[in-house]
Subunit: 726 residues, 2 copies
């Protein structure tokens, strides 16, 4: 009985009266603020179906969501976009803890950027409860706020040993979240780690799902991961809790992108076989393969030591890091036992030992592994070298081939591809616009000409200001999309501004500044001005900021006048400041210390500062803060090289009295800088084996380098030479 | 030539072609995003006029503003509301630094709550430049974001000795801003302190203009303030910079409201005569009269010592504090010289010495002052006691009357009243809705019944939950206006919630909770939950939160689970927590430490915590932070009395390892509390003569009281007794 419903009232009536075999069809159009509950009892032969008039033409927008309850239901073709769920899930396989969906199929549904605009307010997109449910051919892309994209919940006995099948879904790009809670799939929780879930995750495509370093967080027992493809994912399939996991026949493609990883093993009786890995560069917990140390007598929700686990018959091509006994520390002191690494192929084109061993590996049996002809390992046995060539197979994979490889390496025809996952009718095209990809637009000098040009620009455009001319902004120019502002010639154009900021990066914006001079003389006489600021509201989109060959001078109309002022709830993929001059400033160059809740959040992933001169700055050149002890992220990454700091950080209002204060920064490269008559460098090392290289810096009449926290660091070649300035 | 214009294009044409004597009339309706430039050259006899079709029916909304330039212009009847200026002023008497308006009148215009939604983004409402301008009968109410309401600018020579007249304006309520930049009128700036402004400010009504403690900030020479009324203003008319000010015949009515003040003198040749003050309670820089110490050889923009100034023939009825040599410290060491206080009447009904003397007053001549019969003073001469009775005059003022008062005290008929200021056609009615002023609504228990009731409530309503019943919120209830939630009977109803917060106070909201129990068991398993949170966006409206007789237990699903979580850019007038229980919590009770820019901002004015028991809380009971050294505000005010703290503040993630950390708090009353097995109290005293009374507390097996900073404090009667709990 197909029945067309046009609004929520008709939908509710139809649901109330539905019998086995009925089909409820949602009419084309936008369903706004539709909180749908689809409940009923179909039968195996006669399910109750919820479908749409035409696929792609029914969208749920605004504060919409869907709850499922009952037996033998089918849902297909719904699209959620332009809004976000008012509850903690977009689609939930239960109405409440007691009314749950079983034997239910969710297929060809789309959730596209359906994000709460508050970056740090949590929700899930799909929560799976009950038993025998199938979630297949869905298209799930662009989750950007806090919370796992899809979870399998085990919090009542009605949901354990569930026998769910999650297959042929397209998990589209999820950008770096910058905190815990950016996983794409989680099965179970630490509270139910020892329950059997028996969930099959098969033939799904994970396309740059980069929220955090756990792409998949397995937290229950007896789950299977087969034929999934992980494309350029900056994390791993992690067996975080629970035992008897099978990871079989998956493909991990890194394309040499930074931080791409493979599989990470914790717990017991884990089996990792027949997987293919290529071009994975990640290290630490994001290695191509990671077998961790555990906590002796660990409770199930901490780090259970690895035993009875194996890595067998896997292929690693041009992967950079295999990490054994990873995470070894005072607490995680138990090395793996009765485990094996056997019949795997480790091949790198370049000479390299890709194995890092952090503790005793005598509990791991190494057997019949093959190593590329150029490659080495300090592991004493279980490896044989082979003369390997890479041969492209008909699926396009580079297959290591050698006399010594007896069984030809094959990739299952069931392997997920972009084509065989998701729907056929919803585009997987990447809509990201790059900086400098648009039109070049000349902007005349004058009052608010730059404001108008910014307002009328399109994503990727390049605004060219006339060299040497002056541009006054009486309104803050709002950067709503990727935009470049550059000079027409060699001399810098000058930007003056009357508001508390010249340029405001808003949600979706990115900015590149090239050969521009900013002058603070017209700014209002209030504390807290900034040349560039982010939106004061949460920004769900990550942004990029490039400053090259620019000049920032005379920001002194009041105290605390910063160059860049960011807000809580904003996150930069990259902030790069190069070849620029900063002089006579009452505030900071950059204060990236707004995430003060100490729950692991921070404001920037990559911060780069090279070849700049920074003179007479009362505040800090940099404050960078990552509070808390969360291990889900590996940033911020910091490079400070070849800068001159001259009289920086001595202002009375510079609370920490440091030219740079770095708290919880995980990678610190500070090299070849000249510090003259400048306040100190304060560094607090918290968590996650931070990498600290403070090398070849000259400190003359300058404050100390103070390091606190309990992590290792490296300070080398600290000079003390009077610099001469020309 | 009257000319009706219907849109910006017609307006621009009309302006372009306007001749002396022309009248341009804006058509009725909403003018949205109208950035108007009204420029032209009229003559004294034939000005060019901009008016409206019908007063009150022409509104400028959205991103609208007005710039004036030229000679002999008149603007009347414009209303700005529902939006905010895109530039740094709503109405400006110049187009740019060179094109300025002179001989121009702005009359009967309205600016009503035309606020940038970002509390800390600055703008002005009216900026006056040029010469001989008159600003009269305007209605200016509800500025809530950063920035002085009205300024007279002197930044070019075309604007000095300006002879402006600012008269009969109605300055309606401006709430406490919680930072510098909440002044209502400023004339000049510190950079132009020694320029003559020659501005007359006459017969204006200042109605609860409480932005900060400078209601008027006089920062130039030779200005006159006459016949103005200051009604319940929590600040003073301050002669901050510049000399030769005349303050004559004004009225200050405090009605015994906290922090109400009168006149504050700094600099030279200031004359304060014939003013009437009643019921002013303010102290420190907000006294009924304040004469400050100065800095020897001060630059004009610091604190110039008081000389040749006088307070003559003023009346003070029931005022609490006269402050002489106020602000005396190591830097401000110069007492007033060659000044006089003469022929004033100081009368208080109650026995009291209202004079506080902070330094040497030998430079002040006291002469012929009259003191009430009950009143005393330590000042040796110049006072005579008189038997005074208060007699109500025909204007309604209580006039001290006595044989000894020779000249009858009169109030000028020109004195500003609510009636003779502003316009006749725009209501001055107060639209504020109080808590508990609305309907009582019964809410059934169940899922989201409270969410729906909150959504459908009206300002002031009281939601009554059934005692002992359970209310589940799967959506956060949004508090958009003043709302009370209470129990129907003695037993507490229980609220559970599935989002990161149960209740979210949004802009315009206030909340009173009475006899309610909250349980955290259903909250999501993420760090950073809270029972009550403010909007994560900036809130331009101050809010109030009252928690009485409530219970908060078991907030432990993850770490950092707070009871109250506020955001940067939000400000509470009052947070009061009384007679409540808190137990088993991983986060803080209240962390009011989100204004981390160190520019004087903070999150709450009055914080009260009385008669509570706080047990097993990993975070802090309170963090309160006011960074920076700004002297424009006197908050936060803190009262912590009769609480029991038991095992509080020892969580690993409680960064400061304190049960309470107080930074820059200006009034600290911590009395009669019982601290048992609890972490310490950290207090940093920064600025503004903080008042610190830590009295009669019992500290048993608890952390220390650590006080830093260079201000005085009082810790008395610290006991060390093992408490017994029943
Ligand atoms: Ca995680
Ligand atoms: Ca001020």
């Amino acid at each position: 009985n197909p029945l067309l419903v046009k609004n929520t009232t008709e939908f509710n009536n139809a649901v109330k009266n539905a019998n086995p075999g009925d089909v409820i069809t949602m009419a084309n159009g936008v369903w706004k603020d539709a909180e749908l509950v689809f409940e009923g009892n179909g039968t195996a032969d006669e399910p109750i179906t919820l479908t749409v008039e035409e696929k792609g033409k029914v969208t749920l927008e605004g504060a919409s969501n869907l709850q499922l309850a009952g037996e033998h239901l089918i849902v297909e073709g719904l699209v959620f976009k332009n809004g976000y769920t008012p509850t903690n899930a977009v689609i939930s396989f239960r109405k409440n803890k007691k009314e749950i969906a079983n034997n239910t199929r969710l297929t060809e549904c789309v959730i596209d950027n359906y994000n709460n605009p508050e970056r740090h307010v949590q929700d899930y997109w799909i929560t799976i409860y009950g038993k025998n449910n199938r979630i297949d051919h869905n298209h799930i892309v662009g989750k950007k706020n806090l919370g796992v994209t899809m979870i399998v919940g085990l919090d009542t006995k009605e949901s354990v040993a569930n026998n769910h099948k999650i297959d042929h879904n397209y998990f589209g790009p999820r950008p770096t979240f910058g905190n815990n809670g950016g996983e794409t799939l989680r099965i179970g929780t630490s509270h139910h780690a020892l329950e059997n879930s028996n969930t099959l995750v098969e033939s799904n495509y994970f396309d740059r799902t980069n929220g955090e370093h756990e792409i998949i967080s397995n937290k229950s027992c007896q789950n299977t991961f087969k034929y999934n493809t992980f494309f350029e994912c900056t994390g791993t399939l992690t067996m975080r809790h629970g035992n008897e996991t099978l990871v079989d026949g998956n493909v991990f493609i890194g394309n040499n992108k930074p931080s791409t990883g493979g599989v990470r093993i914790i717990n017991e009786s884990q089996t990792v076989i027949n997987n293919y890995h290529i071009g994975l560069t990640g290290y630490r917990f994001r290695g191509a393969f990671v077998m961790m140390n555990g906590v002796p007598n660990s409770p199930p929700n901490r780090y259970v030591p690895v035993i009875d686990s194996k890595l067998n018959n896997n292929t690693f091509v041009n992967c950079e890091h295999i990490q054994l006994c990873a995470g070894s520390d005072a607490e995680r002191s138990q090395a793996p036992r009765t485990s094996e690494i056997s019949e795997n192929i480790f091949y790198n084109e370049n000479p390299k030992d890709i194995f890092t061993v952090y503790d005793d590996i005598s509990g791991i049996t190494f057997k019949d592994n093959i190593l590329g002809q150029n490659n080495t390992t300090s592991i004493q046995e279980g490896f044989e070298k082979a003369d390997i060539t890479l041969v492209k197979n008909e699926q396009g994979f580079l297959i290591p081939t050698s006399d010594k490889i007896k069984n030809k390496i094959t990739i299952s025809p069931k392997i997920a591809t972009k084509e065989n996952t998701g729907t056929t009718w919803y585009s997987k095209e990447d809509k990201t616009v790059a900086l400098n990809s648009g039109k070049t637009i000349t902007v005349e000098s004058g009052i608010n000409t730059l404001y108008e040009a910014t307002k009328n620009s399109n994503p990727g455009d390049i605004l060219v200001l006339t060299s040497g001319e002056t541009y006054l902004l009486t309104k803050a120019a709002k950067i709503k999309h990727p935009l470049t502002i550059k000079a027409s010639g060699k001399d810098k154009p000058i930007i003056l501004f009357e508001r508390m900021m010249a340029l405001e990066i808003q949600n979706g914006g990115s900015l590149s500044l090239d050969n521009i001079k900013f002058d603070g003389a017209s700014a209002p006489d209030y504390a807290g001005n900034a040349v560039i600021s982010t939106s004061k509201k949460s920004m769900i989109e990550n942004y990029k900021l490039f400053i090259d060959n620019c000049e920032f001078t005379d920001f002194v109309v009041n105290h605390s006048f910063d160059v860049l002022r960011v807000s809580k709830g904003t996150f930069a993929d990259t902030i790069s400041i190069q070849n620029s001059k900063f002089k006579n400033i009452t505030g900071h160059i950059t204060a990236l210390d707004k995430e003060t809740d100490d729950i692991g959040a921070y404001n920037v992933e990559y911060f780069i500062m090279k070849n700049n001169t920074v003179t007479d700055v009362q505040g800090a050149a940099l404050r960078l803060y990552r509070g808390g002890k969360d291990e889900s992220t590996f940033g911020p990454f910091l490079e400070i090289e070849h800068n001159v700091f001259n009289n920086v950080g001595f202002g009375k209002k510079n609370k920490y009295q440091a030219a740079m204060s770095l708290y919880g920064v995980q990678v610190n490269d500070i090299k070849n800088n000249n510090f003259n008559n400048t306040n100190g460098l304060k560094m607090h090392l918290v968590v996650g084996e931070p990498i600290v290289n403070v090398v070849n810096n000259n400190y003359y009449k300058s404050g100390k380098i103070e390091v606190s926290g309990d992590e290792k660091y490296n300070i080398e070649n600290l000079f003390n030479i009077a610099p001469t300035f020309k």
